[in-house]
Symmetry: C2
Subunit: 341 residues, 2 copies
DNA sequence: GATTTTTTGATTTACGTACATCAAAATTGG
DNA sequence: CCAATTTTGATGTACGTAAATCAAAAAATC
């Protein structure tokens, strides 16, 4: 049988109350006594029964998700996954709420974080906007003892406990290699459609993409990036225009949202030529386009995994428990038409 | 606050003992009374606190993993992941043991299953050997109330509660498309290295591979399958021989284990020609080969995820709880040198 | 050495559920 | 209607931990 607090008390030759004081860092225990108890804990291999402790404490985990108010499929999907998680709240003892902040607005994000820190949340998951003031606020909150994880978009250099999202540089590199290999000996130009170069994920994807292209596929030239602001209409216009202007385009990399417009443009303008197209995020639209060969590969991050991972990590941090690193790594999914879920 | 058994009792106008009898399917409750309680449960949205229940019951989850005694990297990795899970036993209330059975031996597997069913396990995870007698035994145990999940290799058509593994037909199809697209306009022959055509996973991968090859890449001809018995030495010999004999080989698909031998053969015999190679399972060897361009892509199933998923599912089934389907889908990982973990 | 302060012990209640016991009530059979 | 049976209630203990209270002991202070 697993040792209990009673066993620790007996082994250390102290009372239950003292063991409790040590375990829960309560004051009023002499240094030597604390040592005795800690030794007993180590020697018996005592592990606190978190379930019993939570029961006794009546503990719940109030968690906050801070999301940008962006109107695209991916954010809708992410929201949906959070709602799923909320449905599981009862069983998981979580109490989840979401807060929307204007996208790309560091000041607004900082304001929300400040306000939250007054309250009681035992964990915050946020889609980070990459700015020094955000980093400073996050660091301060972490120091104050708030578990914080970044979601989808990281805040490198900050003290956030964990990042639940994909490695976007690797994603860009992977896209480049896939595109380069799919094109084989063909030469020509590559159009890149992004949302905005102000977004860190997009910058990183582009960075990885251009790096591999330059290193390994010198016959393919990257055209100036089209910034579609993750808007289908703008994306459509930009891509249609680029295709009309430039007959040398042999491939397209869409690293942001707004793929609905991209797909429409491809179907209108590229019926005759054989373009190789790689896009991000699996949605109804990109899925259909993959199946009808308009798109050749989709890179995806699983929003459900990201949300569940963020929750697991925040709970573990709140309890001071370790996490299973391999389990929390968010993988870059590569979908061809053959391995769609 | 979440409703408790007390609330149910009050709402239904019965005593706590009666609620308990209903909840735990104990006898001695009149039909009408049972209905009243069940109505109250539904109306209050009562959810049993599994943690408290487990505490009261002193419940642990005795789980058994049945694995084939195969000596290859993948099975070693799987074993390692199970050992990791055993280390987490205390925190997860599991009590995991593994049983090795001779590989490809339905009778031995059936014998082990029969013996287990005498015992107390509340769940069995097994790498299935595909045979009618195994199916029959599994169905019988499932009927008798044992949660059973298949791991890595499925037992289609049986009543197993879940399959924690990848879709091998999709894996084969994906390999074919990757190989076909990577080769582009090149024509030639494709060598396929398998472990054994007696193993269901390998048959399925080959099936998916040949299907897509035939449909979409008619210029690539598949050579007769080389059966390397998942043994590096045999694999080396077979591949070296095939490469020496046949100058028309432009691609290799290795769908089983023994990749160490394959890689050695490729380095010896294929320095001059540009082969495109796709292999299964990420190991130290395949990883190194991917990085030095001997292999172009690796298809992988994450053994850690499979083990953790199997445990989660078995626990949920033992408690009669639902599972999160999306969470338990084992994905086919595609690794290029850019997105290695 | 007496007093104050700090540390420790003993004990109790609580969390939400499981399970057992025994008595009381309701139902059924004759 | 009485006896036998089934159903229900009341109550207590247990699981492992948290948290509180109050008394007792030890240590520190003067």
């Amino acid at each position: 049988m697993r040792p209990t607090v009673h066993d620790i008390a007996a082994a250390a030759g102290v009372s239950l109350a003292t063991v409790d004081r040590v375990l829960n860092r309560r004051p009023g225990v002499r240094h030597v006594t604390r040592e005795k108890v800690e030794t007993a804990i180590r020697e018996l291999g005592y592990i606190r029964d978190v379930a019993a402790a939570n029961l006794a404490k009546g503990r719940t985990y109030p968690l906050v998700f801070i999301l940008p108010a962006s109107d695209n499929s991916f954010m809708h999907g992410l929201n949906g996954e959070i709602r799923q998680a909320i449905l599981r709240s009862a069983a998981e003892r979580t109490d989840i709420c979401t807060i929307e902040v204007p996208a790309f607005d560091p000041a607004a994000l900082v304001a929300v974080l400040e306000e939250l820190s007054q309250g009681k949340p035992c964990g915050v998951a946020m889609v980070a906007t990459d700015a020094p003031e955000v980093r400073a606020t996050v660091d301060r909150l972490v120091h104050a003892g708030f578990p914080i994880v970044t979601l989808v978009s990281d805040l490198t250099g900050s003290l956030r406990h964990h990042y639940a999202g994909v490695d976007n540089i690797a994603a860009g590199r992977t896209a480049a290699r896939l595109l380069g290999r799919f094109l084989g000996p063909r030469k020509g130009e590559i159009a890149v459609l992004a949302g905005s170069m102000l977004v860190r994920d997009h910058r990183e994807r582009l960075e990885g993409f251009t790096a591999v292209m330059a290193e390994e596929f010198p016959d393919l030239a990257i055209l100036p990036v089209l910034e579609g602001r993750d808007d289908p209409e703008i994306a459509h216009m930009l891509v249609a225009d680029a295709l009309a202007r430039n007959a040398g385009i042999v491939g397209v990399y869409s690293l942001g949202a707004g793929n609905r417009g991209l797909i429409r443009a491809l179907k209108e303008k590229a019926v005759d030529r054989t373009l190789t197209v790689i896009a991000h995020e699996l949605t109804t639209h990109t899925r259909a386009a993959l199946i009808d060969n308009t798109i050749d590969a989709i890179l995806n991050q699983d929003a459900g995994h990201e949300v569940r991972s963020a929750i697991r990590v925040l709970k573990a941090k709140a309890d001071g428990l370790p996490m299973i690193d391999a389990q929390e790594r968010i993988r870059l999914d590569i979908f061809l038409k053959d391995n769609l879920p």
